[in-house]
């Protein structure tokens, strides 16, 4: 695997649209060619090299390309958008849409990210050591086909509207979640290791949510059906089991109605 190191030496005045910063776009390119790729500052198109110094060449394929971003990327958006393979390491914070629509590969952000990260995700891994903003692993605006697969892991807290329309894949949140978790969910797993504010699983028809702490305002559409012991993220614990959202239309499988599950730790 070859490593391309981008160091932000000349920060942009406006937010930087960095959708071209992916192993797919860097693969097979020399450092100079990578520096010539387009990024947008507002509506102005400029070469990547205007803001970043580029060291190292891309690998032969995306899978053989690793990108390391250094410097303060708090205002760089869309890193790793639509990537299919390879690896990205962001040394500090990053802005919105990190790993949006990603299909494969791995992104590791060592700081915080803003909203819409992992949106429309289909595969791969997005690891955030800090906090994430709103709409983490959510569906794009208007879209009813949300996250299909992959893993998102956020060590800290997340904002609101996590995993809207989730269909598959796993989201693990180390801290607390704000309102709206897995709204309209149709599959997948969301684990909140801290507390959740409320509206957890609203209009959800299928899929699982685990909350280790408390749900401040639980929804009336969920009904407790018992207690279960389950293994979650490598550890086993006892949970109170709720099904719902009972106000919704639910699919049937083998003659049995399928419900969404919320498990709260006892």
């Amino acid at each position: 695997m070859k490593t391309v190191t981008l160091t932000l030496t000349n920060p942009s005045e406006l937010l930087l649209e960095g959708q071209n910063i992916t192993p797919d776009n860097f693969a097979g390119k020399k450092a100079a060619e990578i520096a010539a790729l387009d990024v947008w500052e507002g509506k102005q198109k400029s070469p990547l090299g205007k803001y970043f110094t580029v060291e190292g060449d891309g690998g032969a394929t995306a899978a053989e390309t690793k990108i390391v971003l250094r410097g303060d990327c708090t205002r760089v958006k869309r890193i790793g958008q639509q990537m299919t393979a390879g690896e990205i390491v962001i040394d500090g914070n990053a802005d919105m849409y990190i790993g949006g629509w990603m299909k494969g590969g791995k992104i590791h952000v060592k700081g915080n990210v803003d909203s819409f990260c992992g949106i429309g995700m289909e595969g791969g891994e997005l690891i955030v050591d800090g906090n994430a903003g709103s709409h983490l692993g959510s569906s794009p605006r208007g879209e009813w086909r949300g996250m299909k697969g992959g893993l998102i892991r956020v060590a800290g807290d997340v904002g609101n509207d996590t995993a809207t329309f989730i269909n598959g894949g796993t989201i693990v949140i180390g801290g607390d979640a704000d309102i709206h978790v897995s709204t309209h969910g149709e599959g997948g797993i969301v684990v909140v290791k801290g507390n959740a504010k409320g509206r957890v699983g609203g209009q959800m028809v299928k899929g699982d949510i685990y909350v280790y702490g408390t749900i401040e305002n639980p929804l009336p559409g969920f009904s407790m059906v018992g207690e279960v012991e389950q293994e979650v993220d490598g550890e086993t614990a006892r949970f109170a089991h709720y099904i719902g959202d009972l106000g919704e239309r639910h699919p049937t499988s083998k003659g049995k109605t399928v419900y969404a599950n919320i498990y709260t730790r006892i």
Binding site: P140, R141, G142, E143, W144, R249
Partner: protein, 568 residues
């Protein structure tokens, strides 16, 4: 003084009966002229290419409030589908494209006239604002009458003259083009949460049947002598077994003869016939009955139809048939928008995915093509996708390829999951007919122009008509064996001249000539009762004042008025 000479192309002009002769077409000051009238024209070589009049679309939902609802509530329709700026304005969206993309894409396909299929009268200012924003193509818009309280009341009392006076007033108030009828009575019944499921099902409160509404509107239309006929979206759209209702709707035209000065020969246009030609009594035994319906159409000269071809795309359905959209939403459980337009109509919008993996969708695909392939008279059967309901208009080139090539149909059918069941439920596999360029010219320009009553300006290449000329890179003497090449040629015309201005070259828009709004102004005798009725209804029932209802002149963009005198 701008002159053009398009030389040596193979010209297909069904209005003049020209079947692929090698001819020169002269253009002077935006009109087609005899080549002898040209002094020093700029010459364009069209040797080895097909020359037709600019395309005419008789039924497409491109402007207005429900189209905009579709744009607003489907942002995902634009996601990663918005090419970077190519022309002067932003192009985006797939099934409900932006106004700019609509104009450019029609022009790239060689179309110059598009008839907006349903204008809610109350929202006509919005319709006209979007017409202004849709570049290049000329637009007309048909206000909907089939659920309008005035119309229902007049027709219930059999007051054709009063209904005609009201119709003339509304056409002027909305700068409309003709009489559109959507699910007659059914959209009004939707206000009570009901529908009119067949043509004898009375409308609640008004106590009039859809059959009486349609017959009354045909009489009104011929009483006024409008350029276009009644344009009907029949009852019970989209349901198994509805071909019975369709035949009954078509039979309503029996006994009526066209009366107009525009060369129109039909009294009823039944639109998106594909959605109305189904047999069976459930989705399980759903089947094509296109043969029954087309046998009737083929033997009755006073009817025209268009296809409403399903293109097997993810699209956005939108119609003034409010109850149907609710029904559709309960089938696919996707998002649903619904609107009631006071006293006049309703509308609904639902996204829909026509998948080659779903049996009903592939049967629908076959039904549409069967309609066009069974047509004995291509001058009465037109290419549409009921854009965007059965598919976006940008798929017309693909529809043309399917019609012109059995191999193209076979290639598509190979992708069907339920191919055998589709073949059993339809007759598409037994049809070998392949249409020629002349028939395509009939179905895409000459025929629709004639049915719309606009053949003095659109749909042909005779001297005196608008210089709207499309040139396609297809050699009729050496047609490509690969249907993809046919599709490509029709998707990006080699040349489009609009009003004498070279607008598209090699598939790229190079100019934006002024577009027009085409509307019909009917003179009727003064009618004090209708004027009083209008005043009373606005006083009692409308949420707007009469003074604010009619379109203000500033909303009307570059009008072309078709005048009709119905005072005698």
């Amino acid at each position: 003084m701008s002159e053009l000479l398009i030389r040596n192309g193979f010209v297909f002009d069904p209005l003049q009966g020209i079947k692929g002769d090698r001819m020169d077409i002269g253009v002077k000051d935006g009109k087609i002229v005899e080549t002898s009238a040209l002094a020093s024209p700029k010459t364009i070589d069209a040797a080895g290419m097909t020359v037709m009049a600019g395309g005419v679309d008789i039924h497409s939902h491109v402007v207005g409030p429900k189209v905009n609802v579709g744009r607003l509530f489907r942002p995902e329709d634009k996601l990663f589908k918005s090419p970077l700026k190519r022309c002067s304005r932003m192009e985006m969206g797939f099934s409900v494209p932006s106004t700019f993309k609509t104009g450019y894409d029609y022009a790239r396909m060689g179309y110059v006239f598009v008839n907006e299929a349903a204008m809610p009268p109350l929202h006509s200012p919005h319709v006209h604002e979007e017409i202004r924003d849709t570049p290049i193509i000329d637009n007309a818009a048909m206000p909907v009458f089939g659920n309008n309280w005035f119309t229902l009341e007049y027709l219930k009392n059999n007051e054709i003259e009063n209904n005609a006076a009201y119709t003339a007033w509304l056409l002027r108030a909305t700068r409309g083009f003709g009489i559109k009828v959507v699910n007659p009575g059914g959209s009004e019944a939707w206000g009570w949460g009901l529908n009119c499921v067949n043509i004898h099902d009375p409308v609640p409160y008004f106590d009039i049947t859809p059959a009486e509404i349609v017959k009354g509107l045909i009489e009104t239309n011929e009483h006024l002598g409008l350029p276009h006929s009644v344009h009907l979206h029949a009852n019970n759209l989209g349901n198994p077994g509805n071909y019975v209702d369709t035949l009954e709707s078509l039979k309503l035209a029996e006994g009526y003869a066209p009366k107009n000065d525009f060369g129109r020969e039909q009294v009823l246009h039944l639109t998106h016939l594909q959605f109305h030609s189904y047999g069976g009594d459930s989705w399980g035994n759903f089947e094509s009955r296109s043969k029954d319906v087309m046998d009737y159409v083929n033997t009755h000269d006073n009817i025209t139809v268009d296809m409403g071809q399903v293109t097997l795309d993810e699209t956005t359905t939108m119609t003034a048939d409010g109850p149907f959209e609710h029904h559709l939403c309960s089938l696919n459980h996707l998002k649903w928008a619904n609107v009631d337009v006071e006293l006049e109509t309703a509308a609904g919008v639902v996204p829909y995915i026509y998948s080659p993996k779903i049996k009903v969708c592939t049967i629908q695909w076959a039904v549409g093509l069967e309609i066009a392939l069974y047509a004995k008279d291509p001058m009465r059967t037109f290419v549409t996708t009921d854009h965007p309901n059965a598919g976006p208009f940008t798929r017309y080139p693909q529809v043309i390829a399917w019609l012109m090539s059995r191999a193209a149909r076979d290639a598509t059918m190979k992708t069907f999951k339920w191919l055998d069941k589709t073949i059993d439920a339809t007759s598409i596999d037994s049809i070998d007919r392949e249409l020629g360029l002349y028939e395509i010219a009939q179905m895409t320009r000459a025929g629709p122009a004639k049915a719309l009553g606009v053949t003095n300006t659109y749909g042909g290449l005779a001297p005196g008509m608008d210089a709207d000329i499309a040139v396609y890179a297809l050699n009729p003497e050496d047609m490509p064996s690969d249907p993809a090449a046919i599709e490509k040629a029709f998707a990006r015309c080699a040349l489009l001249v609009k009003d004498g201005i070279v607008t598209v070259q090699n598939g790229e828009v190079v100019a934006e000539p002024a577009k027009r709004t085409v509307w019909v102004d009917v003179k009727v005798p003064e009618n004090a009762q209708v004027q009083r009725d209008i005043y009373e209804h606005f006083l009692r029932h409308y949420s707007v004042k009469l003074d604010n209802y009619s379109l203000f002149e500033e909303h009307l963009h570059n009008p072309r008025v078709i005048e009709v005198d119905a005072t005698e």
